[in-house]
Symmetry: C2
Subunit: 478 residues, 2 copies
């Protein structure tokens, strides 16, 4: 809907690249007349649809999808003290219906604990009702005063998947935290996005949680992006909202809870981690168009080539591939550019000579050409799409490995962060040393108990106080 004008900035100018790709590939329109609110273009929405369908497929194995109201009455929102502290500065309040002031102010959910848990208090009665595992995918709101960024820092988070589980014991909730972490790893593996998993420092956990496990990835500029969190809520909320169950011996017990969320930052990561100087590169599993067929027609053979291309399209569609035949009146080169920008994994070229030879030429978005026999096209395409996924996963992992380093003193730590690295240091776990690390480096402690194939879980002297410390991730963050 916008015209391509000028060239896409190179990927190493990441911020310009990101702002450009969003409108050039028709992902988001940033011109909506309110700061921090953006419009999903149809193509961006189609990517979102496939990504969230994968998330639903994973969750639907043993969660149930439901839907709770957006508006939370002030008295419910104000029940849990830690939670209020964490969110009160950034909650939007509805105060009027028409010109009438409301009796009770209504918060736009920044997250839904206080909308869902009053209902859980009604729903949970006995140990037989547990575990309860429910999720919803909804819009949530934060009055962000920092700089907003499409898909990354928003005032309307349009696509928040939040799961809320209830368990009989603290240990069962802890196991659910681990299950959720595995589920998120599987989700991001499907998107070919490598992640770092760690336990957030205590001052950075979710307001009202016992602890928070975070899923981060590294963006092309070396900054860390939080793309998922899993919280053990203990009984903080169950005590506030009176979520109790009768145990096997007939006693009333407070339930133990977890919650875990993923927002459209997963799309920000998807676009940013894989894109290149030519545009998006989309993993086949979530690409709205997996295959584009570009007919190369010359003179008299025009009809003939188009007919062949149509039958190819039909065959590939029937085989389940999301296929697009591009018959627009444009030069083939302009079509290549158009579909490369939009990240289509595989382009099929079909000209008169290919038809005569019984061949189809395939060009991978990740680089390289293949020639298929026309009659083996379906298995050929399936194989090459799998290769593309593998290549994307491998390239993204290489990038992450390159961005990680280990340092043992403050000066090189600052230098590493300035250089766009995420660093592993040893840290004693104390708040004063944590604050010192963050202040001296202008970085953030991502977390301890790191789970990453590239970060050995060593022990060593704290980078500040020299006392025994654990491997800790430090980086600049979004």
């Amino acid at each position: 809907m916008d015209e391509d004008a000028g060239a896409l900035p190179p990927k190493h100018q990441f911020s310009e690249w990101y702002n450009n790709i969003l409108w050039r590939a028709e992902i988001m329109d940033v011109r909506y007349p309110v700061k921090g609110l953006y419009v999903w273009y149809p193509y961006g929405f189609a990517i979102r649809k496939h990504v969230y369908q994968r998330l639903r497929d994973l969750l639907d194995r043993d969660h149930q999808e439901a839907l709770f109201p957006l508006l939370i009455p002030e008295q419910e929102f104000m029940k849990e003290a830690e939670h209020i502290k964490g969110f009160e500065d950034e909650v939007y309040w509805v105060t009027h219906g028409g010109t009438t002031p409301l009796d009770v102010k209504l918060a736009l959910r920044p997250t839904s604990e206080t909308a869902i848990y009053p209902m859980y208090a009604l729903w949970v009665r006995s140990h037989a009702d547990l575990p309860l595992k429910i999720y919803q995918i909804v819009n949530t709101f934060r009055y962000e005063t920092k700089q907003t960024r499409p898909l990354i820092r928003l005032r309307e988070i349009t696509s928040f998947k939040e799961a809320h589980t209830v368990h009989a014991t603290w240990e069962e909730a802890q196991q659910q935290v681990e299950t959720a972490v595995r589920l998120y790893k599987e989700f991001y593996n499907g998107l070919c996005i490598p992640v770092m998993i760690s336990k957030r420092p205590d001052w950075d956990k979710f307001p009202g949680a016992d602890y928070t496990i975070a899923v981060d990835t590294i963006m092309p500029n070396g900054k860390s992006l939080q793309i998922g969190t899993v919280h053990h809520l203990g009984d903080h909320f169950s005590k506030t909202f009176e979520i109790k169950y009768e145990d096997a011996s007939g006693e009333q017990q407070y339930a133990q809870q977890t919650c875990y969320g993923i927002s459209e930052r997963c799309i920000a990561a998807l676009l940013s981690v894989h894109g290149d100087d030519k545009g998006l590169v989309l993993p086949p599993k979530v690409a709205p168009v997996q295959l584009v067929i570009v007919p190369i027609t010359i003179g008299k053979r025009h009809e003939d080539v188009i007919a062949s291309a149509r039958s190819l399209e039909q065959e590939l569609r029937q085989a389940g591939f999301r296929t697009k035949l591009d018959t627009r009146e444009m030069r083939p080169g302009a079509k290549y550019y158009w579909w490369e920008l939009r990240g289509v994994p595989l382009r099929l070229e079909l000209g008169p000579r290919d038809i005569d030879a019984g061949k189809v030429i395939a060009v991978k978005r990740t680089g390289g050409k293949v020639s298929f026999d026309r009659e083996d096209i379906k298995s050929g395409v399936a194989g090459v799409l799998a290769e593309i996924s593998d290549a994307m996963r491998q390239r993204a992992e290489e990038h992450m490995k390159d961005r990680l380093c280990s340092v043992i003193s403050i000066e090189p730590l600052t230098a590493a962060l300035n250089d766009g690295k995420i660093a592993v240091v040893h840290w004693c776990g104390g708040r004063p040393c944590g604050d010192a690390i963050e202040e001296k480096t202008n970085g953030s402690i991502l977390g301890t108990d790191v789970r990453s194939a590239y970060v050995p879980s060593t022990e060593g002297a704290c980078i500040i106080c020299d006392k025994p410390g654990k491997a800790t991730l430090v980086g600049r963050v979004y």
Copy 2:
């Protein structure tokens, strides 16, 4: 999640039946602590998912799905005079972010014209960009002061599908109105819900439209429920929002627009039209569970029957039927009751004798038993599900026919409405006679230009002034 206590009221006590079925079948929980906001239980959400997937499938033929922000700045919302008049009393306003008053008040969208059209003004440039056909499925908000009702009259409409199209000429927009009406008919035919289509009187059209075509159905109590509307917007909004295109001769022209919407009232109609004294009856196309298998296990043959039932379940799932095997430790009769309440179209019973005889017993939710040969189960089930759809459609149409009548004077009109009928009268089309009809009968004029197999489009003397009039639907409405 709630326990079945007592019995479902009979369907002819419709209001009690409706309120009961919502929690007994776990559709909506009405106990959320804000008036007019409700919670979708997982089972209700699953019905919603299948219904809206059908709607998406129909729209995706030639519309694109997108997503626009919820929050509309006051200055955009206040641009179109008729539109403001129609909505200003029922708009929720966000006035604060945290404790800070906002510079610009933000409306929660009651509908999205004023969120979408500023973007369309940027997107539409030339006749080559037209037609533009976009839809979204979103939550919208109305500060209802009338009595609220789950799925019918809400303060948060959680599931509003709204399409917004842009065309070069008034006639093309008119054709799109017809296309949308056909699409809605197809949608409701899939849900086995008969509809009446008519043109709303001028004073009841969408605020800012040239005219409104409405889709209504008749609820079990004889009240009409509006379950879809299609609006020809002319150039009212394009002039307000400066949506212009360059025509083939290089002139700037104001675009012509339509919009059309369906809310979760489609679910209200689905539950109400088909349900009976035993509970829901869901059309196979949208039933979250199409087949439930109840194993009848007796003594020693327990393992044997369960194994057979599992292999039956697997086979039917692989064939694409949404199948549930119920192995809970409950009496078969209690399971029958449970699944009948939830509207599952077909129940398969499998006991030792059936296994020995190579048979499966099937009980239709619409009544009647069938015996299948085990080896022909897939085609047997497919055939019976189609029969169930047909039977449901036919029964619903009979109901609509029974509720329609023609009258030629005011007294019998009032009597007919009191008797739970929708009446066809002749009306001159004038506002004074329209007001008189509505006041005298405590009813509403649904519309003229009626399209229904059961309403002949006759002409006759106006029921009030005796001047020439057209067939017009009058009823009590939700």
